[in-house]
């Protein structure tokens, strides 16, 4: 063939040309810019507009942050140092750091107690959040609520110990009778727990808290970001079992139980949290026995727990509804009773589907704990709007304080949502 070529064509290249490098506009940064930022006129306009927005934001905030003053004791001193330049007065954060975190009444020599409780919380939460850790650690998780209560509120150690013993007695009774009949075990456990609590309550001597090792702190002295964290953690952990119970109740064939759950859930979801907090602050006291004084913290915990339980119940109901009917029938055909079927077959799958929703509710709930500032509890927002902004030294330091509050909440909430995404990937056992 090459022979004939030589006669018909003037020139034949015998070797292949080495591949030329792509043109500059098709490689590296330039290509990326062309494809992602300037692919057509509209896109270019959008890019320029976005750049303008970013520039405006940075132009206004960067000098403000970089010129920030950290070491003065009042706004007037701050202004003196800045001399009219733009700059933040971050010294409000350093000066009022303890108030922002613990409120203004928590005894300052006891700050180590909530700090320790927070550190221990990380250990207690770890085995729940990460399943690869040894299961033995769950024992500490079970003890943790009582330990944290004792650390934060102080007082005599007898109270949390009796409470813990009551739960332990209930669990023991449940373990013993659980094999034969769920109902007997369940009601027996409740009875045993109450028996221990009542007996233990009589054993605690009057005034035991006065000279206890940890000085008692009344709950109206709790405040700051600590209060937000405590409300968030307590209410989420309490509302999860309640929410599961409500969701199962709503799915139940027993009309009375079903309608009780439906009415509760729809009522709570139909009203804003703030009205429930009003109930806690002004109305709930009327429903307790006349001589008792249930403190505001407990009343708020009750209402917020009810609130988030209703939302969690709806999320879990979605998870239950998403399970194929065959799972229920398979559990029945294996001869499992209701409690076994739920515990071993249905709930593990339904909860797995509901994780993103539950985490959404948890994040929303944690953000909603700021609403307690409206009923004059001094959480982080309450501290900022009340004692700090009203003080003569810091009257007018809005940006630094609100920015700090926003940052704290952002870090926690963003962290939780990242964890939930990790958990979803981790639990994805189906093949895709």
């Amino acid at each position: 063939m090459s022979d004939t070529h030589a006669q018909t064509v003037a020139f034949v290249r015998e070797t292949q040309i080495p591949p030329a490098p792509p043109p500059a506009s098709e490689t590296g940064v330039v290509k990326w810019l062309r494809e992602n930022l300037f692919s057509n006129a509209a896109n270019s306009a959008l890019t320029i507009a976005a750049l303008a927005v970013i520039y405006m934001v940075l132009q206004n905030t960067l000098p403000w942050i970089l010129n920030g003053v950290w070491t003065t004791s009042s706004l007037a001193e701050c202004r003196e140092i800045l001399q009219g330049k733009t700059g933040a007065c971050f010294s409000v954060l350093t000066e009022r750091w303890n108030q922002l975190l613990y409120g203004f009444k928590y005894p300052s020599d006891a700050y180590w107690r909530p700090n320790l409780a927070l550190v221990l919380l990380l250990f207690a939460a770890a085995p729940v959040l990460f399943f690869d850790l040894p299961r033995k650690l769950l024992i500490f998780t079970a003890i943790y609520p009582f330990l944290a209560f004792w650390l934060i509120w102080g007082g005599t150690l007898m109270v949390p110990v009796v409470a813990l013993l009551g739960f332990a007695a209930g669990a023991a009774v449940f373990q013993t009778f659980g094999k034969s009949s769920f109902a007997i075990a369940f009601f027996g456990a409740i009875a045993a727990a109450f028996a221990v609590w009542i007996a233990g309550g009589m054993l605690i001597p009057e005034g035991a808290s006065e000279n206890a090792w940890l000085s008692p702190v009344p709950s109206r002295d709790l405040g700051g970001f600590m209060l937000n964290l405590m409300l968030g953690v307590t209410c989420v952990s309490l509302s999860l079992p309640l929410g599961i119970a409500l969701a199962l109740g709503r799915q139940s064939d027993m009309p009375l139980i079903k309608w009780m759950c439906v009415i509760f859930i729809e009522f709570v979801r139909g009203v804003p949290l703030i009205t429930l907090l009003f109930v806690a602050s002004v109305m709930l006291a009327y429903f307790f026995p006349p001589e008792s004084t249930v403190d505001l913290f407990l009343r708020v915990v009750i209402m917020i727990t009810m609130f988030s339980a209703a939302y969690i119940a709806e999320v879990i109901r979605g998870g239950l509804a998403a399970l194929p009917k065959g799972q229920y029938e398979a559990a029945d055909s294996l001869g499992l009773d209701y409690a076994q079927a739920m515990r071993l077959i249905i709930l593990p799958q339904a909860l797995k589907i509901s994780i993103p929703g539950i985490v959404n509710v948890a994040v929303g709930l944690f953000k909603d704990t700021t609403l307690v500032s409206v009923i004059s509890m001094f959480d982080l927002v309450g501290m900022i709007r009340g004692p700090i902004l009203a003080s003569t030294e810091w009257n007018g330091v809005y940006w630094e304080l609100l920015g700090f509050a926003a940052l704290l909440f952002f870090v926690v909430c963003y962290g939780i949502s990242q964890y939930s995404q990790w958990l979803e990937r981790r639990l994805a056992t189906d093949h895709r």
Binding site: L46, G270, I274, A285, Y286, F288
Partner: protein, 410 residues
Amino acid sequence: MSTLTDPPNESFRLSMLINDTRYRSLTFQVIAAIVLALCIWYLGNNLIQNLRAAGLNISYAFLGDSAGYDINQRLVEYDSQSSHARAALVGVLNTLLVAFLACITATIFGVIAGVLRLSNNWLVSKLMAVYVEIFRNIPVLIWIIIIFTIMTAVLPGPREFRGDDATSSMLFDAFAFTNRGIYTPLPWFQNGIFESASMNWLLVLAGLGLSWVAAHQINAWANNKQEATGVRPKTLLPVLAAWLVPFLALTMIMGLTWEYPELKGFNFTGGIKVGGPLIALWFALSIYTGAFIAENVRAGIQAVSKGQTEAAAALGLRPRRVMNLVVLPQAMRVIIPPLISQFLNITKNSSLAIAVGYADITATLGGITLNQTGRAIECVLLLMLFYLTASLVISMVMNVYNASVKLKER
């Protein structure tokens, strides 16, 4: 050979109540009913005893008493002599106003951010992701306070508009942005057909309703024509005419004029005053909920499978028609249900108005009225009743709409 016998006719034993599935659910329900009744009796008994101890009773008579406080932002006539019920009505209307406004703007913000987050433009999509994450992860109460602070701290006071060397000036001589609120021109009719201004506005609304019917008819006619001949007649001009001609004619006849806000003394008078708290609340709710709606919109669009877009393109549809005729109608089915719950959230979150002093129902009935009269139980119950009704109505209306767009299956 086997014979079929009747199952042994067991006599009823007490243990069957808990072990026999025929009776067990009945047992549980009876227990639940007893527990419920005991709870109600216990709580009710405590309530009665506490009320008796405090010398109180449950009565709604206080609603007729004179309220004795002023409300700045109001849609109906109200003064400090009006009754508590009237104050509650002002609050209800204010709640509905801010919820309605915020629903509209939040949807707009959300749709724009959601679509832009899917944009090919890397910078824009990242910017939208930052917007969504920042607003979703910070409590709405903090946003409301921050935006209210921006309004009061950054915008000039009315006094800065005064004098020859005023530091601020009105936009187009018609809009004044002050730290007390925004003042806009007020339209009114010089020679209205009716005495009262609201009747005249109702007339204009009726005219617009007629226009809507006419535009609908024109569209239907064009659809029929297209079905029959395959060619769609141009409808832009007739539809525009149907909307504009009656409106313009009505306003011309009644002599529409604008009352401009003017600086008199220490403050602006005339025009419409949109108070600072309303604007802060409105903007904060829309931009916060907009972030959630953006995620719903993004999920909805991503739920439409790529094959649908490709099939539409293969049929020769232009990108815009692919979006309008194929992607959006299917995405709407995924978007609408979460959108409903976002609207409900806006309505419920509007109760945070109390933090910036906007006189919504929570601030009037649940705030000042409650504190003045001390009728905690009655006020909180009325408050809950209102929000429950509002939630039910909104979800009903939206469910009707949802049913009309959802997939019609056999």
